[in-house]
Symmetry: C2
Subunit: 342 residues, 2 copies
Amino acid sequence: MRPRTRRGGGRPTISDVARLAGVGAITVSRALREPERVSESLRGQIERAVTELGYVPDPNARALASARAEVFGVLVPSLTNSVFAEVVRGIYDSLSDGPFRVQLGNTHYSGLEEERLLQVFLSQRPAALIVSGIDQTKTARSLLEKADCPVVQIMETGPDPIDMMVGFSHFDGGREATANMITAGYRRIGFLGARMDPRSQRRLAGYRAAMEAAGLYDPRLVNTTPVPSSVSLGRDLFRDALAKVPTLDAVFCNNDDLALGVLFECHRASIEVPQQIGITGFNDLDMMQVAFPSVTSVTTHRYEIGCQAVAMACAAIAGERPEQRVVDLGFDLKLRESTARR
Amino acid sequence: MRPRTRRGGGRPTISDVARLAGVGAITVSRALREPERVSESLRGQIERAVTELGYVPDPNARALASARAEVFGVLVPSLTNSVFAEVVRGIYDSLSDGPFRVQLGNTHYSGLEEERLLQVFLSQRPAALIVSGIDQTKTARSLLEKADCPVVQIMETGPDPIDMMVGFSHFDGGREATANMITAGYRRIGFLGARMDPRSQRRLAGYRAAMEAAGLYDPRLVNTTPVPSSVSLGRDLFRDALAKVPTLDAVFCNNDDLALGVLFECHRASIEVPQQIGITGFNDLDMMQVAFPSVTSVTTHRYEIGCQAVAMACAAIAGERPEQRVVDLGFDLKLRESTARR
DNA sequence: TTGTATGCGTTATCAA
DNA sequence: TTGATAACGCATACAA
């Protein structure tokens, strides 16, 4: 019956450090978290003891004792969609300095999955939560409202934020992209959309608004599918659209993958871009400006959205009142060869 | 002086459930983790109590008490590189059923970053660790060897695994891709490489082996840069290569981004593919088969690597001895129009 | 199969 | 500025 058996596997604890430094455990704890509240002499001794023992705080014990984990819960609908991958990268990069870890969840574009993951995340008492979009289910929204931590909705702006928001207007993006093609002289402008999540729906709404304003809207021009987006799907949707409306003279694509599929299909079928068909994409991936012809697209500030979301959450954690709860990072319509008719 | 103040914010605890169900706390704990070890009648009462109270176990308390967090630490060099994004997706999907969470870290292709993150991850006592590549620093390798949890190295196979491995041979991939172009009749085959991480280096080594075997190797054919890969970089590297070796008649690209950049540049400069220039990529993104002309590439089983890594780690956690510690998932060379000369 | 006592490593509370 | 004590919520060890 060994009374001093350590279950944890012999890692040095805060008490070991305290003993070596000749101080109380709580003083070590403070020296680590709020160094300015500990006298300089003790601080030195403690730092030395920490180094000598190779002490690393146990985040689990810390979270249990303080009822607060140093974790940012992040919920995105997809890990491979490069748009979200870049947002996530922004979040990680912004958080890499501080004490916070990231807990990433993939909702697969499902509201129910989001609810489930929210429950899991909440059980850890995260320091902040970042969720994608503004269309949470009633249950999810309620969970987020009750969460006693900052919440940032990202990717979109809209009315009635749960707490804070960073994003841009997908409706405006769709409208401007479409309006530009109308200005360029295109008339039978099709809409190609995959997945059709809420943000895609709002880009479609923007397209429709622009088309109706010009008296050009025709429901037969709209081609959508719930299938996830891909380059090959862009090709297929374009073929369908062309078969349905042979007079089609342009397409606004839900995203750049689709646009690329359209571009390749035009090459293959010897359809001239931008003369016979104009193309506009969305998100402005690197390849769009390299493509031949280069493709008009809507630049979105994805990485920055991630950074801004973290910045806002950190400010809230620090107790600062944000000057604005909703931040619109906007977008930029990049005009390129694919819509430069004449 | 309230003796019964709860610091944790009033969430129901396992004791609350136990009291309501009229059993001991430890029985609730068991009913949750090993239901088969609790009698059916008690199990029913406990389940009812859990539901009624909305009890959710506290993962931090659980980790502290058991000296083991239900967390898979995953280290990848990039979050946006679609190759790793898909591996990560495989990991997440495979883990979504069980109790394990994912702790994802971005090493930015830096060995030092990897060491740092490893320290952070290890402090949580993860259930398993998944790391990318086989070129860990000495320190990192030592940390991994001392970690008392399963370790899986992914993306590559090689000798001397730390614990387990899932991947394929990048050398063979590069060699076969190159050999195919030689067979197709190309002679002045250039190598285009970005980032040049260890896996890229081995693909280059495979290229070189194939070229030397055919007596075609010429160092001036090799164009590499430490700059991260992108479509635009592919275009630039190709221009450089062509300027340096005007007789260039094919390129093996480190990855598909570069290959796409080459393809677009060929379109722009009216260089015929595959007649004047043959192109082979690596990874076989969806777009490669849709491109015009379609692009030969090496399919790698990224999603499956993630799934397999999780499966192996879970087996090890369950105490099963793996039949093989190193799993080679191979690759497939997809022959397409871009190398179909004649 | 079930329960009791105790420990996990840290921080909050309150007093000195 | 520093420290003693008592949680935090759960699981291990052992006994019944």
